[in-house]
C-alpha cells in the first residue's frame, strides 16, 4: 500500500518537476519563469520527499522529510523574492506590460 502511495506521489512529483523545467524554458519572461521554478519546482520536490517519507515510514526519516519540505518552503520564496527584486531593479520590464515597471527608480 505504502509503495503505491509513494509511487503515486513520485509520479506527481516527477510531473511537476518536469513542468517546472519546461516552464523555465517556455514561459515568456523571468517573472513568469519564477512562478514556475518557485511554486512548481518546490511542489515537485516536496511531493518526491513526501514519497520518501511514505516509503520509509520511520519516524526519523519522516521527520527529516518534513524538515526538508519546511526548509524548502521557507527558503524558495525568499530566493524568488531576491531574484524578482533584482530583475525589477535592473529594469527588466515584465512581459505583457508596455510601460516601465513601477519598481524602476
Amino acid at each position: 500500500m505504502s509503495a503505491i502511495v509513494a509511487g503515486i506521489l513520485l509520479l506527481a512529483g516527477a510531473l511537476f518537476s518536469i513542468a517546472a523545467g519546461v516552464g523555465l524554458v517556455r514561459l515568456p519572461d523571468v517573472y513568469i519563469r519564477m512562478h514556475a521554478a518557485t511554486k512548481v519546482g518546490t511542489l515537485g520536490s516536496g511531493l518526491i520527499l513526501a514519497a520518501t517519507a511514505v516509503h520509509f515510514a520511520e519516524a526519523s526519516v519522516v521527520l527529516r522529510c518534513v524538515l526538508i519540505i519546511v526548509f524548502l518552503l521557507m527558503t524558495a520564496p525568499i530566493g524568488a523574492h531576491m531574484i524578482g527584486r533584482a530583475a525589477l531593479r535592473i529594469g527588466i520590464v515584465p512581459w505583457g506590460i508596455d510601460r516601465e515597471p513601477p519598481g524602476d527608480r
Binding site: 510531473l15 516552464g23 514561459l27 517573472y31 518557485t38 511554486k39 520564496p77 525589477l88 515584465p94 513601477p102
Partner: protein, 160 residues
C-alpha cells in the same frame, strides 16, 4: 515568543533531528538551543506567547498546501498550452501584518500560491510589491490576498 519558549522549541527541534525524545536529546537540545539563542540575541526580539494559535496554524497549513497545489496546476497549464494566457502585472499592496514572522509568512505564502509572487517589501514595511500572472484587475488581486492569505497569517501569528 519568549526566549524560554524559543529555547524549548529549539530543544524540541533538536530532539526531532535526532529522531528521539529522550532526556538526553532534550537536555542537550536545550543546552545547544540556549547557546544558539545567546549567540543570536541581537536577532531575536521580544514577542508575546503564541501557543494559543495552533488552530490558526493548522488552518493556515492546510489552506496553504491546497493553494500551492492549485497554483502549480495553473502554471502547469500555462506551460503545456501553446499560447500564454497570462496577463501579468506588477502590483503594490498595502500590508497590515507587522511582525517579521508575519511578513515572512505572508510573502512566502503569496509567492507559493497561484498567480502571485512577492517581489519586495518597502523599507517602511507597509507595502508589498508583487508580480501577478493573471491581473486584468489588480484591485481584485489585492482584495483577494488581503482577505485570504494575509488574514490567515494575522490570525495565526499576530491575532490577539
Amino acid at each position: 515568543m519568549s526566549s524560554f519558549a524559543a529555547n524549548l522549541v529549539l530543544a524540541a527541534a533538536w530532539a526531532m533531528l535526532f529522531g528521539a525524545f529522550t532526556p538526553l536529546t532534550i537536555v542537550s537540545g536545550f543546552v545547544v538551543g540556549y547557546g544558539v539563542l545567546w549567540l543570536l540575541q541581537p536577532l531575536v526580539g521580544r514577542r508575546s506567547s503564541y501557543f494559543l494559535r495552533v488552530w490558526y496554524w493548522l488552518k493556515l497549513v492546510v489552506l496553504f498546501l491546497y493553494e500551492l497545489l492549485l497554483s502549480s496546476i495553473e502554471v502547469l497549464w500555462e506551460v503545456v498550452t501553446p499560447s500564454h494566457i497570462s496577463r501579468p502585472a506588477i502590483i503594490d499592496m498595502p500590508l497590515d501584518v507587522k511582525s517579521d514572522a508575519g511578513i515572512l509568512l505572508v510573502t512566502n505564502l503569496i509567492s507559493l500560491t497561484p498567480g502571485t509572487l512577492s517581489i519586495d517589501v518597502s523599507e517602511d514595511r507597509r507595502t508589498l510589491r508583487l508580480h501577478a500572472m493573471f491581473a486584468e484587475d489588480p484591485e481584485a488581486v489585492r482584495r483577494q490576498l488581503k482577505s485570504g492569505m494575509e488574514k490567515w497569517v494575522i490570525d495565526a501569528v499576530e491575532g490577539t
